[in-house]
Amino acid sequence: MKDQLFAYVLRLADDAAILGQRLGEWCGHAPTLEEDIGLANIGLDYIGQARALYTYAGEIEGKGRDEDQLCFLRHEREFSNCLLVEQPNGDFAETIAREFFFAAFMLPFWTRLKASRDETLAAIAAKAEKEAAYHLRHSAEWVIRLGDGTGESHERMQDAVEALWIYTGELFEVDDTLATLIADGIAVDPEPIRTEWRETVARVLSEATLAIPEEGYAQTGGRSGIHTEHFGHLLSEMQYMQRAYPGLKW
């Protein structure tokens, strides 16, 4: 149980840390000043979530690892974030599509996790739920604006939706670790979220005049540390300081 809980909290932490890292890459380079601020804001939410979750994971593990050791001193194959969050920022449409697909899942996810038997997770969820509501609103508005904007923005937004679609199925994956914790009332069963997620996606894409991709193969692997080739490069940058100067206080 402890092992599963540790793995579960780590997944959530990795999701948040990696997406926060990606959003941090935008800083100073966004299409408008408002979005520079907006994307940084969302990035900050994720980093905050990552900190709380890593800290809790470290407590569960009980080996004295803190948030930074878990974030900066694990190897690629030990990271268990989903593949969606590690995808490169691409153009603004891709960043928005990634955010939208993820937030459309995370909002109902956190809402349900508030009822977890694990009180720490429930408390983290209560805070994260509010943040996810904003992330979903922000990204959905942009999906609509870009989808129903100009010819070029429509095409880019459609391309982005299609490029990332293959990574959305992993959000609903249930493996043994998760099944055990669901049975125990600790983790959220993602299956019932599927309908809600599909409805959100359908509603927003349709308002955006975008075609909804067909159900297809769901690329997975992230939860067991099999990432896309982008991930190693992200890690080499993110972890560089802790790797180059081990064991120091910053």
Binding site: P31, D68, F72, R145, G149, L248
Partner: protein, 314 residues
């Protein structure tokens, strides 16, 4: 001339000038130049620090840095808004920045090479900025003065945060302390240059003083900064990279060596270490974001048209 006198009278009485009040064209121009330059500095200033967001050594520092850079974006927004009350649009101002017509603070043309630079920017660059900006909180132009009050509060938080970052490093290991010393060596003189040319070479100053846009001379502010900063450096156990630096026991001021004004002039002219990269980064962001801004505009127009059609039908 009568209006001018009345205007000066209001200034002398420390009244705030508001956007709809009459003002001399030169006053407006001076303010537009200064406020927009300040806004541009905030925007360009996001880049050197932004360079380290993806490599911050801890999550706490990453969050603090991201928040700081975000604050700078926010300052840019207030300041562009303040400038807009004087009748220039953000688009115009951005165009001036990207075409190279408008200036921004030269300090942002220096590179951030190590993590200690992030602390040094907070401590020295924000520290110098605050020295410049505190008197601006009492600037005669209302919107600028109010923007500055808000900005100063945040900057002073950033400055303390930067100093604390360096303190942590200096106390953690000799290796890190050496990094901090190296950062101080590289940022010290450029920070002093932030106050602009020496009083004897400074343009615009007298009129700006009369208009209470400026309340202290460049050299006065620079001296204040040196006096405040030297003891802080000593507290960190660092050496200021200035062999001529010494405390004048009589005046109580720290006297500093000759500033290399040729470097100042060169960087201002465009040949600093990062001038090209900064402009390239801003132009790239602007160019690559073009389709997004167009789409947002197109969508807003479509929506407005739909609403109009609806209400016409109703």
């Amino acid at each position: 001339a009568e209006r001018e006198a009345a205007f000066q009278g209001r200034i002398d009485a420390e009244e705030k000038i508001e956007p709809n009040d009459w003002m001399p064209e030169a006053y407006r121009k001076t303010l537009v130049r200064q406020i927009s330059q300040h806004a541009h500095s905030e925007i360009v200033g996001m880049l050197p620090e932004g360079n380290w967001i993806t490599r911050a050594p801890t999550l706490k520092r990453k969050a603090a840095l991201l928040a700081k850079v975000q604050d700078e974006g926010g300052h840019g927004l207030y300041l562009y808004s303040a400038a807009e009350t004087l009748g220039v649009s953000r688009e115009e101002l951005t165009e001036q920045l990207l075409s190279g017509k408008a200036k921004y603070s030269s300090i942002f043309n220096y590179p951030t090479l190590t993590w200690a630079d992030i602390g040094a920017i907070g401590w020295l660059v924000d520290g110098a900025a605050i020295m410049n900006q505190i008197p601006l909180c009492r600037c005669s132009f209302g919107p600028y003065s109010r923007a500055m009050i808000r900005i100063c509060k945040e900057e002073s938080f950033h400055q303390r945060q930067g100093y604390e970052l360096l303190l942590t490093m200096c106390r953690s290991s000799e290796e890190q302390k050496a990094m901090v010393q190296d950062a101080l060596n590289r940022w010290w003189w450029p920070s002093l240059m932030m106050f602009g040319p020496s009083d004897k070479d400074s343009l615009h100053s007298a009129q700006s003083m009369a208009w209470k846009i400026k309340r202290f001379t460049n050299d006065e502010l620079r001296q204040k900064f040196v006096d405040a900063t030297v003891p802080q450096a000593h507290f960190l156990g660092l050496t200021i990279p200035d062999e001529d630096l010494k405390l004048n026991e009589e005046t109580g001021h720290w006297e500093y060596g000759e500033i290399d004004w040729s470097e100042f002039a060169r960087v201002l002219k465009g040949d600093g270490p990062c001038n090209r990269q900064r402009m390239k980064a801003r132009r790239k962001a602007h160019a690559e974001g073009g389709w997004v801004r167009e789409a947002a505009l197109a969508y807003a127009e479509k929506r407005a048209a739909r609403r109009a059609a609806k209400s016409a039908a109703a």
